[in-house]
Amino acid sequence: MIAIEHLSKQFGDLVAVDDLCLEIPPGEIFCFLGPNGAGKTTTIKILVGLLRPSRGTARIGGFDIEKNPLEAKRLIGYIPDLPFVYERLTAQEFFEFIGDLYDIPRTALDNELERSFKFFGLWDYRHVLVKDLSHGLRQRLIYCATFLHAPRVLFVDEPLTGLDPYTIRLLKELLISKARAGMTVFLTTHILALAEDIADRTGIIMNGRLIALGTVAELRQQWGGRNLEDVFLRLTADPRLNIGSKRNK
C-alpha cells in the first residue's frame, strides 16, 4: 500500500531523510520511531505530498505522490501533531466541510455524522464552535473527520499528545480495528509502549537513515534488551548523554 524507494530529502546541507526504502502492505500498523529531528515528520510530509523529495519516489496505493497527487491524496488521511481546524465553524460544520471536500453525498454524510459523532462522544457538542472545544474533543473531531472518507492509508504524527487515558484507549482500539478492516496505519510516536501495544512492525530512523526494521520481537532478538525501550536506546544512544549505553550494560 505504501512503497518508498530510495527516498531522500535535503534542506541545504542538512540531510533530513537519507535513501529510505520501505514497503508497507495493506492492513498493517507501522510505527516509525526515532529521536527528535531524526526525520520522521519530514518522511510523513513527503508521503502526504506536503514536501517534495530531493531523490527517490513514494507511491500510495500505486499512485506516485508527486505525479498523481490528487489520486494519492484521495486514499490518504493525515493527522499532524498539531492539526489545523477551522475555529469559526461548529463541529458539525467542520465535519460537513470535509465531506464536501471529498464529495460525499449529503444523505451518506448525514448518516455518518450521527453514527460517527455518537461513537466519538461528540454528539452533544455538534453545534459548539471548534474554538470552544477542549483539546481532547478537538482531537476526536479530527479523527472523526479523517475517517469520514474511509482512507485506505492513515498517517498519524504523534497521535496521543495531550489526551486523557479514556481517549487514548478509544484511539488505540479504533486504530487496531481499522487496520484489521484493511486500513494501513503509519504512525510516529515517542511513546514506545504504544508501539509495543499496537504496531505490527516498527522502524527506527536516526539521522534520516532507517537503522532497524521488524516486529518488536524481531528487534529484541536482533539487538537484545528486555523491551523496545532498550532496543531504541541502544540503537539511538547519544554518546554525549551516555544514556543508552549505560542502561544496556
Binding site: 542538512l14 506536503l50 491524496k73 492539526p83 489545523f84 465553524l89 461548529t90 464536501d100 471529498y102
Partner: protein, 555 residues
C-alpha cells in the same frame, strides 16, 4: 468545482458564525469600535467635501483639478490595494496553516490559489471601501449627483479591486518564488536600488514635458496626475467610466466598464494559471526557508558587558526582550514603516513648500504632525507594549520563581519601552517643527508633547497589560482586542487629545492675535502644568495598579 463550492460554503458559514463571535465580545469594545469608525468616516467625508469646495473656490483651474482628481484618487487607491494585497497574500497564501491543511487534501493547486486569491482580495479591500465611501458621498453632495453615482462607483469598484488584488497576488508569488534569499539577497537589493536610482536620475526629471500646457501645469502641481490620466491605466477607466455613466453617456461608460471587467477576469485567469505553475514551489520555499537555517552568533553578544552596571535580573530581562523584539519582524517592521513614513514626510516638508504657508497654517501643521506622531505611539503601545506581559504566557512562572520582584519586572519593561519610543517620537516632533520654521517655543512644546505621550502610553500599556494579564492567550491580536486592550487604546487616545488640544488652542489663539504676550505666557504655563499633571497620573497610576495586580496574583 465541487471543491471550490465546498470552500466557499465553508467561508460563508464562517462569516455567518461571526455574529456568534461578536456576541461574545465586550459591548464596550463593539460600541467603541463602531463609534470610532463612524467618526472616522464622517471626518473623512467632511475633509473631502471641504476639499472639493476649496478647489471650487480656486476658479477654472480648481474645476479642472476636480475633474481629474477621480483618476488620481483611484490611482492612489490602486497602488494601496496592490501593496496591501502583496502583504496579505504572503500571510493568507503562504503563512496560513490552512494552506498546509488544504495541501494535504485532494484539492488542486489551482483551487487553492483561486480560493486564497479571493480571501486576499476580501481582506485587503476593507480599507479601500472605508476610504471610497466618504469620498464618493462627499463628491455626490458637492455635485448634487444622483444616487446612481454611488451605484456606478460600487459596480466599477469590484472589478477594479479584483484587478489590483490580482496584480498584488501575482507580485507576491513572483517575489517568493524568485527573489533570492540568503547570501544573494543583499546583492540583489543593492542592484534593485541602484537600478531604481539610475532610472529616476535619467528619466524622472523631465517626465511631464509633453502634452498641452494645461496638462503640463496640472502634472507639475499634482504629482502622479499624468500617470493617473493615462488611457492605459485602470484608474483612468474607472474615472472616465463613472463620469460618463453619470453624464448619461452610456456607450462610453459601458465601454470603460467592459474594459475594466474583462481586464479583471483576465487577471483572475492569469493568477490561476500562474499560481498553478509557481505556487507550490513558492510555498515549499517558504516552508523550508528560515526555520532550517541554523542560528549564527547570539544577538547582542557584547551588550551584556555594556549592561553590566544593571542588576543581573534586570539585565537578563532587557536582553531577552531586545532579542525577542529583533527576532520578531512583525514588531520592528511595523514600527519602522510607521515612523519611517512620518520621517520621510517631515523631512520633505520644505520640498512640499509647507514652510511658505502663513503662520496660522504652519502652527496648525505643527500640532497635526505631533498628533500623527502621538497616534503612531498610541497604536504601537496598544499593539506591542500592552500584550508583552501576557505574551510571557505559560512561561510566566519562570519570572514568578526568579529571585526578582514584580515591581522590578514591570519597571524594567516600562523603561525599555520608554527608551525605544521617546528618542524616535521626540526627534520626529522636533524635525517637523524645525522643518516648518516655527518659533523655538513651538519646537519645545512639540518635543514636550511627544515625550509626555510616549511616557503616558508606556505607563498605561505596561500597567494595564499587567492588570488585564491573560497568560492563556498566545495570539497577540486576541490579547489586544480584549476589554483591557480596548480600554488601553481609548485611554491612550483620550490622553493624546487632552495633552495636545490645549497647546494647539493657545498657539492658534496667539497666532490669530486673540492673546496678548503675557496672556499667552500664563496660558502656556497653565497648559504645561496640566500636561505635567496628566502625564504623571497616566504614567504612575497604571504602573502602581499593575504592580499591585501582579503582586497579589496567583499563578
Amino acid at each position: 468545482m465541487a471543491v471550490n463550492s465546498a470552500l466557499f460554503r465553508k467561508t460563508l458559514r464562517e462569516v455567518f458564525n461571526l455574529r456568534r463571535l461578536a456576541r461574545e465580545q465586550s459591548r464596550f469594545k463593539v460600541v467603541f469600535i463602531g463609534c470610532f469608525a463612524a467618526g472616522c468616516e464622517a471626518g473623512l467625508g467632511y475633509l473631502f467635501f471641504d476639499g472639493f469646495r476649496w478647489l471650487d473656490r480656486l476658479g477654472g483651474f480648481g474645476g479642472l483639478l476636480v475633474g481629474r482628481l477621480f483618476a488620481l484618487f483611484f490611482l492612489g487607491l490602486g497602488i494601496m490595494l496592490v501593496v496591501s494585497s502583496m502583504v496579505t497574500a504572503y500571510t493568507t497564501m503562504f503563512r496560513s496553516r490552512e494552506t498546509e491543511f488544504l495541501m494535504a487534501q485532494p484539492v488542486s493547486i489551482n483551487a487553492i490559489v483561486v480560493y486564497k486569491f479571493v480571501h486576499t482580495a476580501a481582506l485587503s479591500s476593507w480599507a479601500y471601501f472605508l476610504v471610497i465611501i466618504p469620498f464618493v458621498l462627499a463628491y455626490a453632495l458637492y455635485t448634487q449627483a444622483s444616487v446612481l453615482f454611488a451605484v456606478w462607483t460600487f459596480l466599477f469598484s469590484l472589478p477594479f479591486l479584483v484587478l489590483c488584488a490580482g496584480i498584488g497576488c501575482a507580485l507576491a508569488m513572483i517575489w517568493l518564488r524568485w527573489i533570492p534569499r540568503g547570501r544573494w539577497r543583499g546583492l540583489f537589493w543593492l542592484l534593485v536600488i541602484s537600478g531604481g536610482l539610475a532610472a529616476w536620475l535619467t528619466t524622472g526629471r523631465d517626465g511631464a514635458g509633453s502634452g498641452s500646457e494645461v496638462r503640463f501645469a496640472v502634472s507639475r502641481l499634482v504629482p502622479g496626475m499624468l500617470l493617473a490620466s493615462h488611457p492605459l491605466m485602470p484608474s483612468y477607466w474607472m474615472a472616465q467610466g463613472i463620469m460618463s455613466l453619470c453624464g448619461t453617456q452610456w456607450g462610453r461608460g459601458l465601454m470603460f466598464g467592459g474594459v475594466l471587467l474583462s481586464s479583471a477576469l483576465m487577471i483572475v485567469i492569469c493568477v490561476e494559471w500562474f499560481g498553478s505553475k509557481v505556487f507550490h514551489d513558492s510555498w515549499l520555499r517558504i516552508q523550508m526557508g528560515p526555520t532550517r537555517s541554523p542560528r549564527r552568533a547570539p544577538l547582542f553578544k557584547g551588550l551584556d558587558r555594556w549592561l553590566g552596571v544593571m542588576r543581573c535580573d534586570i539585565r537578563a530581562l532587557v536582553l531577552k526582550d531586545l532579542r525577542t523584539f529583533v527576532r520578531d519582524p512583525m514588531q520592528w517592521s511595523q514600527a519602522l514603516v510607521f515612523f519611517g513614513l512620518l520621517a520621510l514626510y517631515f523631512a520633505n516638508l520644505r520640498s512640499l513648500k509647507y514652510g511658505l504657508l502663513t503662520p496660522m497654517w504652519r502652527n496648525l501643521m505643527v500640532f497635526l504632525n505631533v498628533s500623527s506622531v502621538a497616534s503612531v505611539v498610541c497604536s504601537l503601545g496598544s499593539r506591542f507594549i500592552y500584550p508583552q506581559l501576557s505574551l510571557e504566557g505559560q512561561e510566566f512562572w519562570l519570572l514568578g520563581l526568579a529571585p526578582t520582584t514584580m515591581r522590578r519586572i514591570i519597571l524594567t519593561k516600562f523603561c525599555l519601552a520608554l527608551s525605544g519610543l521617546v528618542p524616535v517620537s521626540v526627534a520626529l516632533a522636533v524635525l517637523s517643527a524645525v522643518k516648518l520654521g516655527t518659533t523655538p517655543a513651538a519646537v519645545a512644546v512639540s518635543a514636550a508633547l511627544a515625550f509626555s505621550v510616549a511616557c503616558a502610553v508606556c505607563g498605561l500599556s505596561t500597567g494595564l497589560g499587567a492588570v488585564f494579564l491573560d497568560l492563556r492567550q498566545r495570539n497577540p491580536a486576541a490579547i489586544v482586542s480584549g476589554f483591557g486592550g480596548t480600554l488601553n487604546l481609548v485611554l491612550s487616545l483620550v490622553f493624546m487629545l487632552a495633552a495636545i488640544l490645549p497647546f494647539a488652542a493657545i498657539f492658534q489663539g496667539y497666532t490669530l492675535d486673540r492673546f496678548t504676550q503675557p496672556e499667552f505666557r500664563s496660558a502656556l504655563l497653565g497648559a504645561s502644568l496640566w500636561l505635567a499633571g496628566i502625564t504623571a497620573v497616566s504614567t504612575v497610576v497604571p504602573l502602581r495598579l499593575g504592580i499591585r495586580a501582579l503582586q497579589t496574583r496567583e499563578f
